[in-house]
């Protein structure tokens, strides 16, 4: 049986624990893009997202003796990324960002007749995904882009599995509401 992605990661982690810098470089090569994009979606700032990437992999190196292999490396990396990103968000006063978001949504609604065309449907949806709160962006990304299971997301966000399912449901609901406000009524919920 051929090795899985998780097997490769475990091999790399074992080598990192032994102090192998090349293994850290390989782990970085495998995961840095997804870590960066996850951080960027939460922080909406490339410099901050890049700082988080550096901090996460530097911590992998510094704390290499502590990884117990209870979760996949990608889940572990995303959990670290989330913690660092939320620390930055707290410092930036997330509420201010949300206020800006609400204002942008209203502007979009005013122009709904102009933008509502079938060819723009994807564009509208992507714009609405961008406007979700950090909590909703996070769960949407973890499910749809990072391919994480309910159990893995629960580990990453530090919440019960039931909360993860509920949060995802409300993220979808909010997304449909934003789309409707932008002139794209999908008839749900």
């Amino acid at each position: 049986m051929s090795p899985t992605a998780a097997d490769w990661d475990n091999e790399l982690i074992a080598r990192i624990r032994a102090g192998d810098q090349l293994a850290l470089r390989a782990l970085y090569g495998r995961h840095s893009v997804k870590v960066f994009r996850f951080a960027l979606r939460l922080l909406r700032s490339e410099p901050s997202a890049e700082d988080v990437v550096s901090e996460v992999f530097a911590d992998v190196w510094r704390n290499r003796g502590n990884f117990e292999g209870r979760s996949e490396a990608s889940t572990w990396l995303l959990a670290m990324t989330r913690n660092k990103a939320y620390s930055i968000l707290r410092r930036k006063r997330e509420q201010e960002l949300d206020d800006e978001t609400a204002a942008e949504t209203e502007d979009q609604a005013d122009n709904s007749e102009v933008v509502l065309q079938k060819k723009n449907k994807g564009k509208i949806l992507r714009a609405c995904i961008e406007r979700l709160s950090a909590e909703h962006r996070e769960v949407i990304d973890l499910v749809y882009y990072q391919d994480k299971t309910i159990e893995q997301i629960a580990l990453i966000v530090g919440a019960p599995e039931g909360t993860v399912k509920t949060r995802m449901f409300y993220a979808r609901k909010k997304l449909s509401e934003l789309a409707k406000a932008a002139g794209l009524d999908r008839g749900w919920p």
Binding site: Q21, L24, R25, Y28, S32, V33, F36, R37, L40, R41, E46, P47, A49, E50, D51, V53, S54, E55, F57, A58, W61, R62, K121, G122, L125, R126, I129, E130, I140, D141, V143, Y144, Y145, D147, K148, T149, I150, K165, T166, M168, F169, R172, L175, S176, R186, G187, W188
Partner: protein, 212 residues
Amino acid sequence: MTMNPNDERDEAETLLPWYAKGTLDAVNRLRVEEALSRWPELRESLRLVEEDRNETIALNEGLGAPSPEAWARIFAVTAAEQRRPTVSARLLSLVRVFGLGAEPNPTRLAWIGAAAAVVALAPSRSGATYQTATAKSKEGAEVLITFAPGARISDISAFLKERHGSIDEGPRNNWYSVRFGNRRLSTEETNALVEELRASPIVQSVQPGGGD
């Protein structure tokens, strides 16, 4: 225990995103498939979920990747760690780097702790990596410097060469410990040096070090 039909339908609705991604376990996958057969309107929900999924992927795929600088900062951490032989040497180094002299008082020790915490948290964005001296000189004047974010390695090398400077330590949270000249300077001379360094466009911040 059997769920009532409405609960069963609602539960299937909440599971649709993972079903659309193929990340459900076998039991829940079967549960969703049964619900889709039983309540055809769920198929419309599934179609919307698939739209959301496709646009989320498209959005993320358009975000690019971290620049080479991100890896350079990580490499600096691993390289710096491998240069540190012992914990006690690292602590002594911090005392030196933050200019606190050989006999730090309690206030100074607290400051060391804070500085050490900052160092542990984050390599900074200016982040270019430089080769530091393998054996520290005990001569010369020690100064702490952060270089301007846009400063190139070649600029910094020329800057140091011109002033007979060499990097003793760093970067640590953007700060480098740099030694200038080959003799200990008086306070006045050190202050004059600091003022001169401060005037350079490639220097962002500078402050006197603590000596040895």
